[in-house]
Symmetry: C2
Subunit: 207 residues, 2 copies
Amino acid sequence: MRISDLSRESGVPIPTVKFYLREGLLPPGQRTARNQATYDERHLRRLHLVRTLAEVGGLSLESIRRVLNALARPDWPLHEVLAVAHTALRRDETSSDPSLPAARLEIDTWIARRGWNLAPGTPAADDVAETLVALRRLGWDAGPEIFDRYAEHADAIAEAEIAYVAETNDPESAVEATVIGTVLFGRALASLRLLAQEHHSRKRFGP
Amino acid sequence: MRISDLSRESGVPIPTVKFYLREGLLPPGQRTARNQATYDERHLRRLHLVRTLAEVGGLSLESIRRVLNALARPDWPLHEVLAVAHTALRRDETSSDPSLPAARLEIDTWIARRGWNLAPGTPAADDVAETLVALRRLGWDAGPEIFDRYAEHADAIAEAEIAYVAETNDPESAVEATVIGTVLFGRALASLRLLAQEHHSRKRFGP
């Protein structure tokens, strides 16, 4: 198909498709004439993925590039791919609160007590520590145990997710499922929590 | 305390404190001289809250303003406050995918089957519908049931959260707990899922 077909099928405007091609987020098509190229289903699929990571995941171009690099390495161990996807999902700002290092140690001890085996310096643990610091700044007299219930649900969810990926035989699909799953089901979980909060709030306090 | 004390205690730079005062995110202090005012613990607490909503929640100034308006109305029913907090948390972009309205109907039917009682047009349901559309664009042959497991965990989490708020006697604290809880524990849950994914991935695929 031509670039105009690619645009129509994907809903991505032609200038954006050209931009993705220039930036290397989309591999070049097969050259058919000096100024023409044809594209196939793989291009369309990649275009959908880039759009999803940008629109649904809210990822920056640089983060999308990192995720696509992971997809290009289906020989990587899956937990390496996961680490790339996780890093891409993070916002870059880090808090400079002076009580953060101590909170991080508390979170590390709590993680070890849960039996979670993580790479040292995992960035998501910093995010949990920042949340603890923020709660305390707001006057909550909280330790890491305040997250116990959330951690139990997160553990059950993640165990099922990784089991699903493990059933995928072809490495390329497994890597793609990991990236898509991390971004899209993360968004779904957040929205479903809000819906469930609304339901339980109406049930308890509603008219 | 003076504005310089407020800045030192909160870690928020003086120009930012002045900006919040001008924007009305922070109520004016008690005037002591033509160009001086004193501030108290309530100002410090509010400053921490604004900073947390901005830094941890990633909320825009306009969203923070909406949340603070909800805090100023402790007589509101809690599910109204929740609705304000939820709206503030959403990103503003909405997808224009032509298959979105049909997906939204599927999600509404699925929600009704779950027994969740929600206000019509709840924005978080649009987010779930968008996620379904995005999965299908990427070639997943999925119906709303793909979210069943997430919805069950979300339901258990939300039920405990609303029960916690219901135990809070003073309406002002209940409203604050709702806003803080929605933002901060939402962030914690997302990070804990990533940590749990890493743990289960290493357990299965790791060295």
